[in-house]
């Protein structure tokens, strides 16, 4: 089975966000593989181990993203591809990313493409379905279970807490929801092996794309932090009195109940 995984390098979930010069300050921050993409990588490896074939992880980014690709290789992916847009693109959006990835994938005959259902930084969740549409293949988002037999696919999909039992066929793109699996940690031998696995680097030119072809349709004009919330009141006295006071505050002061 020819399997591709779309991954993104993101801020660690434990990081606080600061803004410098109108942009998110990156200095000193820890970066990780987007947590939802980790589920996608794990599932891809598990599928390959059952059905055979190869897992290729693909990302768009700069040189820094190599680290996350090596981690994916250390988990067990076979090959990695970095589409380096650092020199070509100042601005990009989901249209840009999907177009580039679809251009890369269009002649790869992928049976299965996996991605996270959302990246925890931009949080739009668009790129997976957009890529599927550009490749003219079916997609299922926020999956929590995947079973493949031949080209028949059975999926459990999370829909705001409900579970849909879905039947479809390959080729297919799926996006991973929490609960799909437990991503493995890279093992030491895995990390050693990963250093020798192929990591290909491409630029827009290699995909026959011009800057204009992938020009963003939307633009960010400002980034700002939420207004700092002033610490509120910790109530005092007997618990029973605190509870009545709270009920009255919620009713009369906050007016939320």
């Amino acid at each position: 089975m020819n399997i591709y995984v779309l991954v993104k390098r993101t801020f660690d979930t434990e990081e606080r966000i600061a803004i410098k010069g109108g942009k998110i300050a990156e200095d000193g921050a820890e970066f990780i593989i987007n947590p939802y993409d980790e589920y996608a990588i794990e599932e891809a490896i598990a599928m390959r181990d059952v059905h055979g074939g190869e897992v290729t992880v693909v990302t768009i980014g700069g040189e820094d993203s190599e680290k996350q690709l090596r981690t994916a290789l250390a988990m067990g992916a076979d090959k990695a591809v970095l589409i380096n847009t650092e020199d070509d693109l100042d601005e990009s959006d989901e249209f840009t990313a999907a177009k580039i990835i679809a251009e890369y994938l269009k002649d790869k005959d992928a049976d299965l493409i996996l991605a996270g259902n959302v990246a925890i930084d931009g949080g739009s969740g668009q790129v997976g379905p957009r890529v599927a549409e550009l490749l003219n293949i079916n997609y299922v988002t926020t999956i929590t279970k995947l079973e493949i037999e031949g080209t028949a696919v059975k999926i459990v999909r999370d829909v705001e807490g409900d579970s849909e039992m879905i039947e479809t066929t390959l080729p297919l793109l799926v996006t991973a929801q929490q609960g799909l699996n437990e991503p493995r940690y890279p093992s030491l031998p895995g990390i050693m092996k990963a250093k020798k696995k192929p990591l290909e680097e491409l630029e827009l030119d290699d995909l026959d794309l011009e800057e204009d072809d992938v020009e963003a349709k939307t633009e960010t004009i400002e980034i700002f932090l939420p207004a700092a919330k002033a610490a509120g009141r910790v109530l005092e006295g007997e618990i029973a009195d605190q509870v009545s006071e709270l009920a009255s505050l919620l009713r009369n002061e906050a007016k939320v109940i």
């Binding site: 803004i19 969740g125 349709k217």
Partner: protein, 325 residues
């Protein structure tokens, strides 16, 4: 320039979801005095058209087909595209719901347009409209504008207030015949976990439990409190990892980002990954026995105490209010 805006209404379990009225309000702003056309897709949706007009839609276009009984991206994109081609709108608004999240990128890709997802507020009107959306799960916000071509946005439920319901509003209702075919996805069955109660991402009140709740049974009083307040139950990652509840209830940077009117955190310490998911709630109440817990720093009201003592008292207090004693 005024815009014609298409909005998609959503029907769930025999009723229009609230977000259907919110997309109309958002579209009104974007239209700058233009026309708002609501789209309803399903097996049988005629009975909902009037309500869409009462909430401010100028017209409603419906497509009814047996293959639209359940949402599939293939079925709904065929239906929506038929309306798009008939109407040639300048803008589209969907809810940022499970359906909207799944369908909007497909439509945007078909139309080679941008898509501004998960918008929580709109500044300006008509051509001047800019869109505010959370990034890093609400740790920051960005202001985005459409550069050119079709404007397409999805709005987060419960953030943009619907217009007043006005039953004197009237508008034209029309339908299009479309043969919805070649669905590549079959939904064999749906298992409802949320048979009763309110959806977490749309709830006005959320009672969330953390590790401090100590067990799955420990969530029962939280559920009772949530029901009393007409709200939903949520959880921290710690509580989900410990199997006290299902991952679908997780609030945080991995999990759901919620903005209810009232959030009550019970036995939740306030890890940064959880706070990213709830800190934009309008009113935050924290109940924790540790006075140093981080959550008190963002709470409007806090009670330092044992949750197993406090929660039952709260239930009693709100029950009293309910029967009007």
């Amino acid at each position: 320039m005024t815009k014609k805006v298409l909005v998609l209404g959503e029907v769930r379990e025999g009723a229009l979801r609230n977000v259907s009225f919110e997309v109309i309000a958002a579209a009104k702003k974007i239209s700058g005095g233009g026309e708002v056309v609501a789209v309803l897709l399903g097996e049988s949706v005629q009975s909902f058209t009037e309500e869409m007009i009462h909430y401010g839609a100028d017209r409603v276009v419906t497509i009814e087909h047996a293959n639209l009984k359940q949402y599939t991206s293939d079925g709904f994109s065929q239906g929506f595209m038929a309306v798009y081609e008939q109407e040639s709108p300048e803008a589209i608004v969907f809810g940022h719901t499970a359906l909207g999240k799944d369908l909007s990128p497909k439509i945007a890709s078909k139309l080679a347009s941008g898509l501004i997802s998960d918008v929580t507020s709109i500044e300006g009107e008509g051509d001047e409209a800019v869109f505010i959306r959370p990034i890093y799960s609400g740790k920051a916000f960005e202001k985005v504008r459409n550069k050119n071509g079709l404007l397409f946005v999805t709005i987060r439920p419960n953030n943009i207030a619907p217009l007043e319901h006005d039953s004197s509003r009237s508008g034209e209702v029309s339908s299009i015949d479309v043969d919805v075919t070649n669905l590549r996805t079959i939904i064999a069955d749906v298992v409802r976990k949320t048979t009763e109660g309110v959806d977490l991402s749309e709830a006005k009140v959320v009672v969330a439990g953390g590790r401090g709740v100590k067990s799955a049974e420990g969530f029962n009083p939280l559920k009772e409190l949530a029901d009393l307040l007409g709200g939903a139950v949520g959880a921290s990652r710690g509580a989900c990892d410990a199997d006290y509840c299902d991952y679908s209830l997780q609030i945080g940077q991995t999990g759901k980002v919620i903005t209810p009117d009232l959030y009550i955190g019970v036995g939740i310490s306030g890890a940064i990954q959880h706070m990213a998911g709830m800190s934009n709630s309008k009113i935050i109440v924290a109940i924790n026995k540790d006075p140093e817990a981080e959550i008190f720093k963002v709470a409007d009201y806090g009670i330092v105490g044992d949750l197993f003592e406090v929660v039952p008292m709260m239930i009693e207090e709100f029950q009293k209010a309910k029967v009007g004693v």
